[in-house]
């Protein structure tokens, strides 16, 4: 018999209660995995998209809302004159409800810009020119909208032909409806407006030069902000809100978990006062009794964490296939998230066990043994 045997035997005294507590913790941890996995997945998807297209900097006006405000398309020409800029292109993107799909990215791209280059036609053809009233659909977008080449897509009051299905190399690209900037401006009544300028810098541009370029862009376009592609997610208010929401909901779930484990461990200590009295009477140190209670609660946390990770991962995989999410993001189920979630669960167990452990160690052996 080892100390671990004593710890596990303590938990198995009341298997139903232990099981219910495990269920409570695992649901909390599953919520953490699902919510944080979604938020991280969103960030990762955006990062991958920028990487695939080869964007170094993005100019936008991110004040308020999830999508940036529109601004005059002529800003792009001024920015293109700056010395470290190799190439620019502009876009008008909106996250809107299209037909039966609750939210889908609609991306109007300047004709001939480098954001078209990575799109590979897998079915049908590419849009012929910037005035053709047509769209190409990312593979996932076609699946979500249940559209094929030859169908039409209703964007606001306009009906546009689906002329091709494309593979954009990232979940964001594959989840988008792509059309020419000119048609997008016309359909959404944003003539002459864009809300993103994507920039490629001259090869070998160092960090200081990037900072200098961002400052020069700020002079040209005071309302906007130029950020490095790698910093887009961190500086976006929408992303920050999503991240904060996922963590705050997770903290609520964790708090419920802590209360659940604490309740179980307190009940355990109350019920086992006599047993703890015996342990103290036969010479167990108070620290060993505390350690026993803490190990029991930590083990509850660990098992609940492992169960929660499995539940959360399964939940994410299911959510990934739902129309509301499909094509918008690729949930992050990285080992880092799974390990962090299990660590959180163990810490939850330990925190929950602190008071019951302290209480158990304060018992008088003579009184406890007579209880």
């Amino acid at each position: 018999m080892t100390f671990f045997t004593i710890v596990t035997r303590g938990l198995m005294r009341r298997p139903v209660r232990t099981g219910l507590t495990l269920a409570g913790i695992s649901i909390g941890i599953a919520a953490v995995v699902a919510l944080v996995g979604m938020a991280w997945g969103y960030e990762k998807s955006i990062g991958k998209q920028l990487d695939v297209i080869g964007i170094d900097m993005i100019v936008s006006n991110m004040t308020g809302g999830i999508m940036p405000k529109t601004f005059d398309a002529s800003v792009e020409d001024k920015i293109a004159q700056l010395p470290k800029i190799k190439e620019t292109t502009s876009l008008l993107m909106q996250l809107i409800s299209v037909e039966d799909a609750p939210m889908i990215m609609v991306s109007g791209r300047k004709w001939g810009g480098f954001t078209w280059h990575q799109l590979k036609v897998v079915e049908g053809r590419m849009i012929k020119d910037e005035h053709e009233p047509a769209v190409v659909l990312g593979r996932l977008a076609a699946e979500v909208l249940k559209k094929k080449v030859g169908d039409t897509v209703q964007l606001d009051s306009d009906e546009l032909n689906v002329v091709g299905i494309v593979d954009g190399g990232s979940v964001v690209e594959n989840g988008a409806i792509i059309l020419s900037l000119a048609v997008m401006q016309k359909v959404t009544l944003n003539e002459g407006k864009v809300n993103f300028i994507d920039i490629r810098l001259q090869p070998g541009t160092d960090k200081d030069a990037v900072t200098e370029t961002a400052a020069e862009i700020k002079k040209i376009f005071p309302e906007g902000r130029a950020v490095k592609a790698s910093e887009v997610v961190g500086t976006s208010q929408g992303f920050r809100v999503a991240r904060a929401m996922s963590w705050s909901t997770s903290i609520l779930a964790i708090t419920v978990g802590i209360l659940g484990v604490m309740n179980t461990m307190l009940m355990t200590v109350f019920e086992r006062t006599h047993e703890i009295g015996i342990l103290l009477a036969v010479g167990w140190r108070r620290q060993r009794v505390m350690l026993m209670v803490l190990c029991e609660s930590a083990l509850l946390g660990l098992l609940g964490g492992i169960l929660g990770v499995i539940l959360g991962a399964a939940g994410l995989m299911i959510m990934e296939t739902t129309p509301a999410i499909k094509g918008l993001l690729e949930p992050d189920l990285s080992p880092r998230l799974l390990i962090i979630s299990v660590i959180i669960a163990v810490v939850v167990g330990l925190i929950s066990g602190l008071y019951p452990a302290w209480r158990s160690s304060r018992l008088s052996p003579a009184v406890a043994i007579q209880s």
Binding site: L279, V282, G283, W284, R288, P365, A366
Partner: protein, 242 residues
């Protein structure tokens, strides 16, 4: 039979002076000034009617509770001032209770190993020692049984084996036969006397049974929280027990 009859020159194990124990903020006085000496190798029986304070005295000797007043030394060290009373409970003494106090979710073998976690033994050493102790109390065939599967006498034998887990020099027994029928009670007494005789263990036994008390080298009689008399016997014998 208790053949170890110490002389006045034998070192003292316990020395109590003016020992008091009060409960409920002084409303209940369980001990009202007890003076007591227990010498190495002695078998001391503490008797008296219910509520006279004999079990409370044993709890103080076992450091399960602290005295309200007075001094209480174990081999010259103050028990209430011990920096590590758990070490004293686990190594210097073995406790045997009337109600056995075994852990119901652990087997016989596991129950005996519980105190050994404070003994610095390896897993294998703990197991070997527990088997050896259980065989010595005649329970080698009951190792994997749970307490609920044993008779009262067998449970008490497990409790005695547990009390000996870390090789104590003193055994404190609180009415060890109180919950047993006469046949089992006799077996337990024989076992305790054998321990006292063979292992030279100092035995302090609380009982209200004067027959059992008659087996001791010295009998201390208590009433209303005080020692009222002491009787010494130079030839105690189990045969004295009715």
């Amino acid at each position: 039979m208790a053949e170890n009859v110490p002389s006045a020159s034998t070192p003292t194990v316990y020395e109590a002076r003016g020992l008091k124990k009060e409960f409920d903020g002084g409303k209940v006085a369980a001990l009202r000034g007890v003076d007591l000496d227990v010498r190495e190798g002695e078998f001391v029986a503490i008797t008296g009617p219910s509520g006279c304070g004999k079990s409370t005295l044993l709890q103080l000797l076992g450091s399960l509770a602290l005295p309200s007043e007075g001094t209480l030394n174990f081999r010259g060290r103050s028990i209430p001032d011990m920096p590590d009373p758990a070490h004293y409970r686990s190594h210097d003494i073995g406790f045997v209770f009337q109600a056995f106090h075994l852990l119901p979710t652990f087997t016989v073998l596991e129950n005996v190993q519980i105190p050994m976690f404070e003994g610095g033994l390896t897993k294998a050493q703990r197991k070997d020692r527990a088997v050896e102790l259980l065989e010595s109390v005649g329970l080698g065939h009951r190792l994997t049984h749970f307490p609920s599967e044993l008779s009262g006498g067998e449970r008490q034998r497990v409790a005695i084996a547990r009390g000996l887990a870390n090789g104590p020099s003193v055994v404190l027994a609180d009415e060890p036969t109180g919950n047993l029928d006469s046949a089992n009670a006799e077996q337990i007494l024989e076992l305790l006397l054998k321990l006292h005789r063979d292992r030279k263990v100092t035995l302090v036994l609380v009982t209200h049974d004067l027959g059992i008390a008659g087996l001791a080298t010295r009998t201390i009689r208590m009433k209303d929280g005080r020692v009222v008399s002491e009787t010494s016997s130079s030839t105690p014998s189990l045969a004295n027990h009715p």
